[in-house]
Symmetry: C2
Subunit: 256 residues, 2 copies
């Protein structure tokens, strides 16, 4: 029986708790024995006796999963009142070294954007693990496989680059949606009309290489349309982003 | 009975022909009487006798739909051997004025990214129409409604801005996928692992406002992670794009 204590009450913690509770209904290898939460967040389906906000009351477990904001990871790991236990964080960008030295360290990074009010299927979320010794890695792998069908061993440097790539395909993509929404609003067009295009863009990338899915004025070196677009954009920030991304597509198209 | 001649053999033409042929199986109000194609492209399900590559053989019809590349629209409209017919193009960025003056002008712009080898459902594609008189607009609207559930009347200026917005959510988004793919390749990570995140990013935008869906270091003003990301990016172009989009998200977060 693997005993798990989860620390945190944010989006990642919320989804991990929900998935762990589901798993333990079907597995007797695993139990979420306690959740530490400073806030008084209510976790549905989680017995109140299993929640604590006092570090002195944290139970002995096989693994402590710290799912808190990046800047709080070190401080939280300092508070764990045990020695030589496996303590992992769930961040894409924080080094494994930021965990307190008194325990064995690891990382358990689920690559997804989590929102509290939107259900997700953990089975499809890739989990990236890292540990300082093979036995811990095997334990972490076992837990990850209970949650997800795709589990990868990577090092801290790969994880940082993966996090950068995730920023490109999620944070930056969403910001482009925001800018397109602004353009629509400015010209009395409903953002809704872009949704089929957004959906098709995603569907294409599921089955095609990004360079083969590229279309539009920059990819066909259509300088006239690019000029005409730039003339029509009044917002300086939108214009700068249009120019830089267009240059990048043009440079890439030349290489092909 | 509305008689239609379609001119072109590219991606948009290909999908329009396929959809028109489907429609005329169920409607006796409409017939695709001819396709003009310079190339010897084979259109499946289209009788060879209905294809011509000679402008002198173009038949009389109620509407001529020019689905060719932007730069060829004027030249093709000059070749139509009739006067005072309705002639429309399908481009998002070309002005209605670029069509030859000897015929009545219009625009029939389906907002989608078309690839020959990927089927699409025209019913869900918004079509934006523009004409110089109300009677033509009503005819164009009728044809558009046969194809799609969402039809909008807009002017050339709105259409240009819509096309710019489409460049942001499709061309630029796909290019960000390309850059993320490059980062993955450089660090021996499979691009596949980003696909659940890409899918979730799209699913969120279907139900949330872009500003509410925004997550990541820039949106939470996490300067330490941003610095650490910039240090890990070795490619100058990737770095410039990371910096500009991050600045744009930061500026936007401050306004909220």
């Amino acid at each position: 029986m693997i005993k798990v204590v989860l620390i945190g009450s944010g989006n990642v913690a919320h989804h991990l708790i929900a998935s762990f509770l589901q798993i333990q209904n079907f597995s007797n290898e695993f139990e979420l024995i306690q959740v530490f939460s400073r806030s008084s967040t209510v976790f549905l389906q989680l017995d109140a006796s299993k929640i604590t906000s006092d570090y002195n009351l944290i139970k002995e477990a096989d693994i402590y999963i710290i799912a808190v904001s990046d800047s709080a990871i070190t401080e939280v790991s300092n508070q764990i009142p045990f020695k030589n236990k496996l303590v992992v964080h769930t961040s894409g960008s924080v080094s494994i070294d930021k965990l307190n030295n008194s325990n064995r360290k690891g990382v358990f990074y689920p690559l997804q954007t989590f929102s509290k009010n939107k259900e997700i299927n953990f089975k499809e979320i890739p989990i990236f693990i890292e540990c300082q010794n093979e036995a811990d890695l095997i334990l972490l792998e076992k837990i990850a496989h209970l949650l997800s069908d795709s589990v990868y061993r990577i090092d801290s440097s790969q994880r940082k680059s993966l996090h950068v790539a995730a920023v490109f395909v999620n944070n930056f993509v969403n910001h482009l949606y925001k800018l397109a929404n602004d353009i629509c609003t400015e010209h009395q067009l409903p953002f809704e009309v872009l949704k089929p295009l957004i959906q098709e863009t995603t569907e294409k990338i599921m089955i095609m290489q990004p360079e083969n899915a590229q279309t539009g004025p920059a990819s066909r070196n259509d300088i006239e349309t690019i000029k005409s677009h730039l003339e029509s954009i009044t917002n300086e920030n939108q214009k700068k982003i249009y120019e830089l991304l267009t240059q990048s597509i043009l440079a890439n198209a030349k290489k092909l």
